[in-house]
Each structure stands twice: as C-alpha cells, then as structure tokens.
C-alpha cells in the first residue's frame, strides 16, 4: 500500500492520519536528534505503514543558539566570527554575506583586489563544501562501516587540500574570520597561488572519478534515481535555491544573474538537470565542483594589485557606525541563496544592528521534507535528506 501523490508530486504535510486508512497499523519511527545520518541535530517523526512513509514531520530548533539575538548586542565588526558558525561547513560564505550587507549600508566600496580574492575563496569553499556533501551523502547510502565510508574518506582527503590552502592564508582551517567590512583581513602571499594550482589539479582528476561513480554504479543509481522528486513549482514556492532548484530544472544562479564580488569578470556556466530527483541534485553538485575548479584556475593567478580593504582598519570595535537603513545582500552559497537582511539604527544606536535576519537556504530545504518524503521508504528518507544538503547550524542559527 503506498500513499497516492498528486500529479504534481506534493504530499499534504497536514495529512490527518485518520483520513489515510483507519485500518492501517501505522508505526511511528522517531529518527531522533541523535542519529547517524541526520546531518546535524535534526528530528523527523516518520509515520510508517510497513516500510512506506505516510507522513513525515520534521522538527528543527535543536541547534538554535540565538545568533540573531546575540548580534543585536554586538558591533558590526564583532558579528563576523559569530556568523562563521552558522553554516559551519562553508564559513567563507557566511562571512561574505554578512559583510556585503554591512558594506551596502555603509556605502563602502570594496577594492578590486579584495573582490577578486573573495571570489577565489568562495569558489574554493564551494569545492570543499560539495566534497563534504558527497562524502556524507554516500555515507548515508552505504553506511559508515562499508562502501560509504570509503568515498567519504577520499572526499575528506581532497577537502584537506583546500583546508590547507585556507590555513596558509588565514591561519585557521575552519571559521576563519578573514572578511571584514570593506575587504579582507588576510592578504595572499607569493606562493599561495602555486599551492592552489597543485591542490585543484588533484581535485579535478578525482571529480571525474566521482562523477563516474555516481552515474555508473548501478546500486547508486537505483538508490537515487526517481527518489525525492521536487518539481520546479514546488521548489520555487518553498524558497529552495541553489543545487536543489537547479536540479529541478530552473536555470537560476546568483553568480551569473546578479553578479557580486568579481563574478562579472568571469564566466559562470550554470549546471541544471531536469529530473528533480536525488540523482539530479547529485550531478548538479558534482558538476558545480568542476566548474568551481575551472573558475579558480582561471582567477587565482590574476589577482589584481591594490589595497585589500577599502575601509579604514578597525582599531576600536565601535568605530563603525551606521545611522539607519535596511539592506539585503545575498550570495550563492553551496546550499542556495544565503542572504542577510539588516535593519540598522533604531533603538540600538549606531554601533550594533537593530535586527539581523539571516536567510538560510537549509531551512527552506528542510521545509521540503513533509512534501516529498511520503510515498518513499525509510531507506529513501535518508537519501532524500542527504541530497537536500541541510546544515542545521544555518537552519537553526
């Protein structure tokens, strides 16, 4: 017995279980906050009819740390290290999104060198994030003791190369605090570009292997093809952006359509797939990895000369004062459109933001769960969750 879905493949998230089948003996399986494949602390209550999911109810908020409230008491320069920990897998994106919004409010122009470097760092971060995604997705499909962990460790081996590059630049492997209002804090050294070239040639060779594995491994294809189909209309309504939206056939990428940093000086080839299933999203991400490799290779040698920061160096935390205004700045993170909406001024004076709202792409991805999971089996639930690439740090903040 399987749940009948409408022609548009959208389940009813508010399904009253008595309407489903009064005779069915539904089992409630709590895929709890502690589970090997919930990508962070995420809870899902699955109502199962045998192995088929009838209703899926997600619960978030286990990682809610009150970042938005904290930021109301922090000055504009103190916010950066805090939001680093939102999307803890791609910290560069968080920092850039925040600082873009503040630069917009202050009217500061970011020098070309900083914009160029930010682009390179963003693309490197995208490679690292997609590598992590691929590893954990295969881990979900195959198990930590088994085939999944082999690919997981290979991906992490490549990711270490990128993290070494970041450590060379900023001193931190993770959570860098390298962006500031007006530019970057750390500037590149002469040998850095060479290091990047070496790393990305290794990564490029491996992405061909990974794409072959995803498309040509029969079991992988069986587990991901036709699973978790999100049609384009539902994706847009939910606010899904990034690989999930592009995997459903919508040709939209902020890097090409609303260029920021130095994306107007480089060509970004947007990857889309029409199928909308897990396989489509996986292919979009792997191809995006290759695209990022190409962009980095093109850009890393030509970093233009100039200052690395357009705003005076921050000596006192309270030196940056923004009187009033509302701004929204967004960028294309590996998960979708990561945006920052800031209201400045108001009751908190000029040194701290009045209201900081971070628009997390993962929360919208998780909101898709009640719509697409019913009708699939328990094994598919983990595959779907993995393919949406949720990071609970940014979903819950």
């Amino acid at each position: 017995m399987s749940v009948e879905l409408t022609a548009q493949r959208r389940a009813d998230p508010y399904l009253d279980l008595e309407d489903y089948d009064p005779e069915a003996d539904l089992m409630v399986l709590n895929v709890g906050p502690q589970h090997p494949s919930t990508h962070g602390v995420f809870r899902m209550k699955l109502y199962l009819d045998g192995e088929v999911i009838v209703k899926a109810v997600p619960y978030v908020g286990y990682l809610h740390r009150g970042v938005e409230k904290l930021c109301e008491k922090l000055t504009y320069t103190q916010v950066t290290p805090i939001v680093d920990k939102n999307d803890y897998v791609s910290p560069m994106m968080n920092e850039q999104a925040i600082n873009m919004a503040f630069e917009d409010l202050l009217g500061v122009e970011v020098p070309r060198r900083a914009r160029w470097l930010r682009t390179v760092l963003a693309e490197l971060q995208r490679i690292a994030s997609h590598l992590l995604w691929l590893g954990t997705f295969t881990l979900d499909l195959g198990g930590a003791i088994g085939g999944g962990s082999t690919l997981f460790l290979y991906c992490f081996r490549e990711r270490e190369l990128v993290l070494d590059i970041f450590e060379e630049l900023t001193g931190c492997r993770f959570h860098y605090n390298t962006h500031t209002i007006g530019g970057n804090r750390h500037d590149i050294t002469p040998g850095w570009a060479k290091m990047v070239h070496e790393a990305i040639s290794v990564i490029e060779a491996r992405t061909h292997e990974y794409e072959a594995m995803v498309t040509r491994n029969g079991i992988y294809a069986d587990r991901t093809r036709g699973i978790g189909v999100i049609d384009a209309g539902l994706a847009m309504e939910l606010g899904l952006t990034g690989p999930a939206l592009r995997g459903s056939g919508v040709d939209h990428d902020l890097r090409r359509d609303a260029p920021y940093h130095a994306y107007d000086e480089v060509e970004v080839r947007v990857q889309t797939e029409a199928a909308g299933d897990c396989m489509a999203r996986a292919l979009v991400r792997i191809r995006e990895m290759r695209e990022s490799v190409r962009i980095v290779r093109e850009m890393v040698d030509g970093v233009p000369e100039g200052p690395i920061c357009g705003h005076r160096p921050i000596k006192l935390a309270t030196q940056t004062k923004i009187k009033a205004g509302q701004a929204y700045a967004c960028l294309e993170s590996p998960r979708g459109e990561l945006g920052t909406f800031v209201i400045a001024g108001g009751g908190s004076g000029t040194a701290c933001p009045y209201r900081l709202k971070i628009r997390p792409p993962s929360l919208h991805a998780l909101a898709a769960v009640p719509y697409i999971m019913p009708g699939h089996m328990v094994s598919d639930a983990v595959a779907i969750l993995g393919s949406l690439d949720p990071i609970l740090g940014e979903a819950d903040r």
């Binding site: 499909l141 195959g142 088994g146 085939g147 082999t150």
Partner: protein, 324 residues
Amino acid sequence: MSFLLHGLLYGAVVGSVLLTVTAWAVWFERKFSARMQSRLGPTIVGPVGLLQPIADALKLMQKETIFPDNADRFLFRAAPPFMVVFSLATAAVVPFGPDMIAADLDIGVLYILALAGLMLFPVWIGGWASNNKFALLAAMRGIAQGVSYELPLVLSALVPVVLAGSMSLSVIVSFQAEHGWFIVWPPGPGLIAFGIFFVASLAETNRIPFDIPEAESELVAGVTTEYTGMKFGFFYLAEYLHTLVSAAVAAALFFGGWHGPWVSGLHWFVLKTLVLFVSIFWIRWTLVRFRADQLMRLCWKWLVPISLVVLMAAAVAVQLGEGR
C-alpha cells in the same frame, strides 16, 4: 578412535582455531579496509596493530551491560550466544584436509543449509526482544532478506550435489579432486552457480551490499542497537564467523576444497578460503547498499530463476554422462 572422543577433540580444535582466526580476521579487515581508504588502520597495539583483537575483546568484556526496559529478559540474553553456536556448528562438516573433518555426515550440505536457515532466529529474536523500533525494523528486514535469499542459496548449493552425486562435503571434494573443480568443469553451470552462491551468501551473512538488517545509516545499529558489551561482541563475532565459514563452504563446494596442484592438503583449503574472504571484504568496502525492495527484486526476479535454470543444466549434464 571412538566417535565421542573424535567429536570432542575435533570440536575443541576446530572451535578454538576458528575463533582465533576470526579474531585476527577482524584485524585483517581493518588493515585491508584502511589501506583501501588511504589510511593506516590499527598500528599502536602490538607490532602493526596485531594485538588489536585482544584489546578489543578486553574492552568489550569490561563494558557495562545495559538492559533496556521492557525487553524480554530471556530472549535478549539468548540471542547472541545462539548466533555464535550456530555459526561454529556449520564448520563441523567442512573438510579441511583429506582426512580432517569433524563430522563426516552423509547429509553435509543439507546440514549447512539448515543451519543457515536457523541463523535467522537469533537475529530475529535479538531484534524483537530489544523493545526498540529500529531493532524491530531491522529484524523484520533480516527475516525477509534471509528467507528470500535461502532459495538461491539452496538451489545453487545443490549444483555441486547433483554433479557429484552426494550431499557429503568430503565426497564432493574428493570428486572434484578426481574430475576437476566444479567452477571450471563442466563449463557453465558451476561458474554461474558459484556466482549465485556467493551473492546469496553475502545476503545470508548480512554483508554489504545486502546489509539492510544492520543498515547503520538508517537504523542506527540495526538488530544490535540495544546490545552492549560482550553481547554485542558475540553478534559481531558471529557475523565474521559466519562469513568465514561461508567462504570455507564455497571453497569446498566449488573450488575443490583441499585439492591443489603439487601437494594437496590443508594449506590449499586455507588459501582458497582466504581469497574468498578477502573478496567479500573488498566488496563490502566498495559498494553502497541496496534498498530493501530492490534487494528482494534482485533475489526473486533474477537469482531464483537463474539458479533453477542452472540446476536443471547441471542435471542435464549429469544425465548426458559427463557427471558420472
């Protein structure tokens, strides 16, 4: 030697040797998988980590046994030892050498297949008695998978029986020693039957890609979710033991057991078993797992019809005079 003494002696020897080999098979798997994943594996305890199994056993033995609320007291405790006992019992009819066999039963193959069927019970009992939904789901999946894959296992194991004309494993091995290994002669049925037997054994021992009863990323730890300490150790040990014995049985049925060029004997048997064992690991650490219904589809739509056809082909080969 009296029957009882023979049995006791062989039982003690085979049992202890197998348990020791299994413990070091765990070490070997960890090293092998580590090298496959570009890391090192156990290196600290003993040279090259060779004392790791001892460390693991000591660790498991001193862990606290947590008994879940509302779990069935007797069944929860009974499941792990039964698994080990059944796995060890399968080794009783395996011919390790020309005259080295613990119990030379006439119905050796039937005994092995019966025990393979019995092995489903501890899995099921353990999962149900844990009073845990994940374990219950895993137990149900385990039963479904185990019962389904018994058919191709039985049908493909019958091919050597038909070709050799006897169910006794020692007779099958001597037949292969005389006429040629079943994997290559008669050309066709033996090879396909071995393929199906191998796949069905992977499914019976719950190895990836058929490890849905223990699907670690979906069902936490499957049947063993609520087991701690040495009870978990028994399940773990039993799984490896079962795999090792399945490899040994496959070597005996299809690869000619202890027979080999130059000097036949125990060493050839050990070599063949190890080669099969290593290939089981290799597959485990490479592939992702099937979904439950895809697994069933593979079994019922592909393996069962093919094994039926192969069995009939073997029977035809025998009738045409090539078998006997």
